[in-house]
Symmetry: C2
Amino acid sequence: MSVRLATSSQETAAAPATLTFTDAVLALRALVANDLTAVNEQILERMDSSVALIPDLAGHLVNAGGKRIRPMLTLAAARLFGYDGDHHVKLAAAVELIHGATLLHDDVVDGSALRRGAQTANIIWGNKESVLVGDFIFSRAFELMVAAGDLRVLQVLSRASGVIAEGEVLQLTTQNNLDTDFETYISVIEAKTAALFAGASHAGAIIAGADEDQVAALRDYGRFFGVAYQLIDDALDYAGFEDSLGKAVGDDFREGKMTLPVVYAVARAKPDEKSFWRRVIAENRRDDGDLEQALTYMERDDAIADTIACGRRYAERALNALGKAPQNAFSAALADLVATSLARAS
Amino acid sequence: MSVRLATSSQETAAAPATLTFTDAVLALRALVANDLTAVNEQILERMDSSVALIPDLAGHLVNAGGKRIRPMLTLAAARLFGYDGDHHVKLAAAVELIHGATLLHDDVVDGSALRRGAQTANIIWGNKESVLVGDFIFSRAFELMVAAGDLRVLQVLSRASGVIAEGEVLQLTTQNNLDTDFETYISVIEAKTAALFAGASHAGAIIAGADEDQVAALRDYGRFFGVAYQLIDDALDYAGFEDSLGKAVGDDFREGKMTLPVVYAVARAKPDEKSFWRRVIAENRRDDGDLEQALTYMERDDAIADTIACGRRYAERALNALGKAPQNAFSAALADLVATSLARAS
């Protein structure tokens, strides 16, 4: 089940036509390869515990094949300004651990059974274990940040984790709520996704000692990229191919999530179609064929195409912000990441 | 249902015979009254959010009538050394928020319906909400610590929160596990309770600029007091009166928790009594009358009395550590708190 992504009519931002998102991730990974190895070592070291369940569960999470985008933002943002210390490694590891703790708690809250194609920790070890190991990972993330010894970075990243949790709570109130509008949806993804992208690149620029304008530029880059990234993720959940995300198409639909494709589809539904959306989202009653029906409405009303168009606008803002930073291999790789993210399912 | 506490044969440590634990809490509260008001203001301020569920749920937790022992440890530990700044207020608020976040997650993990006589947040708002608001509160605690601006304190308190989570995970592995021995039990309570007591008093001494010996003394005071406090709590769960704790006698029994009274009772059970413990703890099958039977065995085998005796030894170590600190009204109040804690149910 997939719908063609309606991005073909104009070229996406600055991306070379042949470069895919995976190419851009791999290129960035090659550029920060040594740093990323050090990040992985830091993570494994910090997950050590005499309580065997902790490294077992944390190892499952860490090895689950994440793309490591967030820690790479920190590493590249620091290197971009010529940083040659090692605190950026600790901060990048901390950022990935905050992300990991959030995933553990998310999967408990959503009752998810699969992530990136593998069973989730809450299914293998249980909800209680996932909640508590999430807390442990979160604490270790803070210890790592403290070890980096920069109070301003600590302020940025502790604020970001509060905002993430706030966004998750806000998202709970939108679930199965047909009244969720564009502004509320954007607030949710600004908080639950963009805050950590922003914190990641912001922290890298701060630790590198970049000047205030450039620190702000890297923060904005991460923030706008984060919004764009989540918009595309939410479009892919309806339009994507199963194996490109490791999650099944229609997961959000089956959970009654009010992501932007649904927000648009509901707003554009004809009067006699409102009851369909009320039943499948608000009343949480879905039958075979409902996902296909939803996709038909979405295609007719450009709900997915307009979600991607919205993502494109945020991607352009991210690229504009990045334009204020020094132009070198690191900023070029960060730019490619954003530009190609718009065509992830193609 | 209660069993007489077998503490009457010797006077508890240094406590005046007439002083109760409640008296000691109130005396300490009077001594740090202005600081504690400022702590409560900080907490309310940090729980503010445009997502209404957050201040609602956090307010329920904050107003649930906790004794505020942990923040008072921070406040008194700082004042003890003549500190006259205001960072100790932020740290005390952070300590109470870490405690609050832990309680929210604990109640989800244990499926608890009551705390201090009131419905728990997971019952009123739901498990998902409690997990996510717990994460929010935890993040805000870190923001507060960062605002206090002392990297060493940040190191101590971020380490403490990791240890707490580790202790909670370890405790999960002991639940319904008849093989849990004294050492494992002590490891659990050192981590899940004593680490934050220690962090609280330790942080106060550090922020006050006390010298190294005295900083270590305050850390040890908190740690040993924390162990003693949890030992008495665990004894009270079998021996206490319902309204002195706001939790029902036998809660731990009904959850199959391997607290020290059970560890002792199992170790001392006659061969034909082992099957009773196997059924009620390991197999989690309990009938009417089983709690009474357990209490009868515990009384016969001094399981509760010896738990209290163990608490007394830790209390004495706490008082010894405190003896290295300046002797003034604050240290006297901290000493009374420990000494009277042994007789909480009397």
